[in-house]
Amino acid sequence: MSPNLILPQTATGHPLRRRMLAAAGALLLAGTYTALVLTQPTGLTDGLGQTVALATFAAYLAAALLLLAAVLPELPVATLTLIPVALALNIVLGQFVGSVMVPLYLDSLGTVLVGFLAGRRAGAATGVLGTLIWSLFNPTVLPFAAGAALVGFLAGTAARFGTLRRPYLAPVAGLAVGVLVGVLSAPVAAFVFGGTSGVGTGALVAAFRSMGDSLLSAVTKQALISDPGDKAIVFLLAALLIYALPGRLSAGFAFVRRHNVLGSHGSK
């Protein structure tokens, strides 16, 4: 059936082209990450350091944009109207949580909500778009767009494989996602910015460095301490919010119906 109520269904682009764009984005991301981990450049501010910083920034951003170009044209209208709400929730709830002096970010709650309700492609698109729009207020988040896409993609994957059918599975999936996202984002923090964006996390990295770790290793260890806990709480909160939704609202999403995302929780 056409997603539009009164218009005939029209093809939106070429599926092969979209698949190739997505594959190019994923390959670029994986290639950049592998090259950085294998070579571990030591200089940060010399000629090689500047090259690595610019190349990492450009490659991570280009990969995120390729993934967005692959996903965006095929999203249904119900998902497109959900994404701005999710992006605004990321920012509003992120600010609210930041204002109550709790050392958590919770700035990916909207992205995870979209991943749970509309699937991994919509989740990935929300992650990239959220970062692009947030970069209007904080330009340093721009190269982290690929990490945000991974959060949304993995949230959709987790929902598809039944994470929301048991409440205790959501934080477990969040922990696993936090590990992967922390590992993927560490090279950006290490080679583009030479550390982290906060003093607390910077102190942790400094402690690991003084114990003899390389910069990438220290930033990765810090990310593995901070990210899994944050993502576990975000996944749990997103799952609880989705359980609180009226059944007719959650069942309005084709992804939820097709993959029986909510199991017995959906039959309210």
Binding site: N4, L5, L7, T12, L44, T45, D46, G47, L48, Q50, T51, A53, L54, P73, V77, A78, L80, T81, L82, I83, P84, V85, L87, A88, I91, V92, L93, F96, V97, V100, V102, L113, L129, I133, F137, P139, T140, L142, F193, G194, G195, T196, S197, G198, V199, G202, V205, A206, A207, R209, S210, M211, L215, A218, L240, L241, A244, L245, P246, L249
Partner: protein, 252 residues
Amino acid sequence: MPRTCQLHPFTVLALAAAVTATTTAAGRWWLSVAVLLACLLLAAWARRARRLAGLAAAILAPAWGSQLLIHGMADTAGGHVLAAAGPLRITAEGLATAGALGLRTGVLVAAGLLCTLLIDRHELIAAVDLSPAPPQLGYLLAATLFLLPALERRQRAIGQAQSLRGATPGGGPRGWFRRVRLRSVPLVLGALQDAADRSAHLAARGFPAAGPHTRLREVQDSAAQRRVRRIALACTVLGPVAVLAPSWMGAA
């Protein structure tokens, strides 16, 4: 009254990208300081200098603190030790690295925020809408930027309503969780209901439009600006290559 730039939004963004990429590649402290001063001067012209300084300070203060801790106070490689106590080791090389990284981050933040302050949001949305980008992108940008203040207002209203009905969250982790629940559940449920209602209206109007469509708001553009954009984009790629090529040859 703040001034906004009369240039096409993409021209401003392309120039900012070229300046940031070339300055990062050059890695010269005087060039970075000159770019930072130029950003401040442009913000002063737009009557937004104080806002730029405040926003940049909020982002840069923790980032600089982190860079100082990691490179300036726990440096393991530098030879000129200025002070050492336990795990802390302050070296001249570490401080220089922290300073260079701080300037690199500063240029990115100042140039990016200046773009946000100079570009009119309506112009940016119209420019995205008129560009060859998918029509969904313009809608998502517009909807998010205009939904943000609406959701912030609604969040405050929910907080006031919960206080009026005597719902006190209490202290500790349980109080924090209760406070998040009292605010986020009505906020998220209401926002999702609105999104579901909106999707039916948009679908009924044939969104996203596949063919060409008339836009009431025009964005000022010219052949000269298009040329500047092309040159700026070329500089974004070729500028760093030209600056860094000698160091690559030296390394080879």
